[in-house]
Assembly symmetry: C2
């Protein structure tokens, strides 16, 4: 199996892009990545894997591989779409990794794209529900925030903690997002604001949940052998791992263990030959603050029931022992659903290049990114190395 490296990246701002279509956003990120990798001869690109979750139900467009390759000036190349709900971006990255690692493909673009705001209100909620269990959750009116609320309440009950225990996950994300020009929300969380936030699905409030958004991000992969000749700072993919769990929350063996996140992280640690202590930063899937707490437990940073303490002890800031959401995470940078996994890859790559500007984690050498589908039904973990 060949080693694989990231040699280019691109991203659009994450926002409600009322004035840009799915096509506009995708081609913008694509062109930026090609420029970043200094690729002017498009015939050197062999394949494109698109991470997208809601193309069909929200934008009435599937077969995005062929469409976006064509619009990106790459008509004819290998291209198709990869979907794992909110983890679609990372699933596309996994596919690009497999293609290059196998030797079948020399240079691949992995593009994450979501235009989530083309439907609004009840119409949006209905479309958005397809990542839940259709027959046992969504059909009863359950939504992702509603289920996250149940999970959060259980976590608080089980471990005897208050809502305020989660505040710093959100505050940290907003602080980091405040200096990210591509972030959807660049406001810092004001003191007292978390406690007073309007409820979304109690106990989940406005500052616990990440906003659905539009955006596109791309990375370009090639074999590690070639990468060094092409760009000054290739970033190596040291591990790529996927695991799954029951789709419906009520089917889980243990509500308070994100089994897929645990399994994907363990596989990734083993492949990279490292443990959590070796990581310089972790772009986790902070769609809800309770998911951040549970993810830290699943990935070996905290014992069961103690993930929330990392936020309390301020270990998750840029100068802490495990910096999280260093560009604002899903919470502040925004959650362009099927593109989120690629934003994570772009941000971690910027960190490892030392090109993160005001968001730089000092001496970042090893980063983990983890993208979740649903409330952890799919978990895809990559470890990147400078």
């Amino acid at each position: 199996m060949r080693d694989v490296a990231i040699i280019g990246l691109g991203q659009t701002p994450v926002a409600e892009h009322w004035d840009s279509s799915l096509r506009d956003l995708a081609t913008q990120a694509l062109r930026e990545a090609l420029t970043d990798a200094d690729i002017s001869d498009l015939s050197s690109v062999d394949a494109m894997y698109v991470g997208n979750a809601y193309g069909a139900p929200i934008t009435s467009q599937s077969q995005l591989g062929a469409l976006l390759a064509d619009l990106g000036g790459l008509r004819g190349i290998e291209a198709y779409t990869v979907e794992a709900a909110e983890a679609s971006g990372a699933a596309a990255l996994r596919t690009g990794y497999l293609a290059v690692a196998s030797g079948a493909v020399e240079t691949a673009i992995v593009l994450g794209i979501e235009k989530a705001t083309d439907r609004v209100g009840a119409d949006h909620l209905r479309a958005r529900g397809v990542s839940l269990d259709a027959d046992y959750e969504a059909i009863h009116g359950a939504t992702l925030p509603a289920l996250a609320g149940l999970l959060m309440r259980r976590y608080m009950h089980e471990y005897g903690i208050e809502l305020s225990a989660f505040e710093n996950f959100s505050a940290n994300a907003h602080l980091n997002g405040s200096t990210n020009a591509n972030a959807m929300f660049r406001n810092k969380l004001k003191p007292g604001a978390f406690a007073k936030a309007p409820s979304v699905a109690a106990p989940v409030s406005l500052f616990d949940g990440a906003p659905d958004a539009d955006g596109a991000a791309a990375v370009i992969l090639t074999s590690a052998d070639r990468a060094g000749d092409l760009v000054p700072q290739p970033i190596h993919i040291a591990a790529s791992a996927v695991a799954t769990d029951a789709l419906a929350l009520h089917d889980r063996a243990d509500l308070l263990t994100l089994m897929a996140a645990q399994r994907a992280a363990q596989k990734a640690y083993a492949a990279a030959g490292i443990g959590p202590d070796d990581l310089d930063l972790f772009e986790l899937h902070d769609a809800f603050t309770v998911i951040s707490a549970l993810t830290l437990e699943a990935t070996g940073f905290a014992a069961r029931g103690e993930g929330w303490k990392l936020a309390q002890e301020s270990l998750i800031g840029r100068e802490g022992s495990i910096p999280l959401s260093t560009f604002g995470g899903l919470k502040s940078r925004g959650n362009p659903i099927g593109a989120t996994g690629i934003y994570q890859a772009v941000e971690a790559t910027l960190q490892l290049r030392g090109a993160a500007g005001a968001n730089q984690v000092a001496d970042a050498r090893i980063a983990m990114i983890q993208n979740l589908g649903g409330l952890g039904s799919t978990a895809i973990t990559h470890i990147l190395r400078a």
Copy 2:
């Protein structure tokens, strides 16, 4: 890159399965494939890649990887969905191939599943349109049969042929389907029926177009090295290739050249070190008879404008020089959209095992399968070898 082999297969009948859900069909094909590969220890399965096109827009269910792995008794394994409209099945096969070829995955299930009949009438047509260009085709009311009609009319005009020139593609499919217990339509085409068939989108008539249907099919892949120890007759994947073209028909460089089909076939021939003359059978994407004619031209069996002649000269039957649609193809076996590519793989594997029963092509050693998205916007070609 490791060689990859097929060691197991399963399929449900193709039909309008009003009494079975997406879950029922998927798990039925999955179990059959596991049994066929003699896998009783489920922990030996590492990954599952699901080919599906309309889970979200028709059955309101995405994230099928996690869901179907769980329902199949494989909770926890790597799993996600791959989509390329009607070529989703083959795109999933491509992904499974890359995973095993790379060495990252030892044993993978590739499952194609579609439950297309959960929406009917205008609702179905609207959902079905997502594989076209949403902004320039579907929005104007274009449908796949309507566009196929335009293409067929152009073909007839350009080459000065009548509708009857296409009849034998349909007759051959129905003849082969008549002995396939899993086929949707097992009736032979009666003399005169083709000429009198009701129009769908002139000149496309009822016997030109393949019926959308429900179905699930699965193949199990492992490295060729291991395969020989596991099953008596592993079937080798000698080539796997993907190519794309413009999504919208009006954007094609040449309406009457299926560029993606041509390119994917050329890549596959080169990888396998063979040419069209070496093939013992060809499971092509006969969604419309004109697509069969154009495919034969694109894949090197006929010169431009002469694909229709192969049908006239009866070269496409089971004893002809290039047997097509040996189990009935999309036309008679039926088109369970995102599963179709896996049905093609299952059928070709049965042929190469010499286990095709009444549908057997004598001495079949090398088979090509080609799955198309839309009217050839995505083309995915695999060559299998006994």
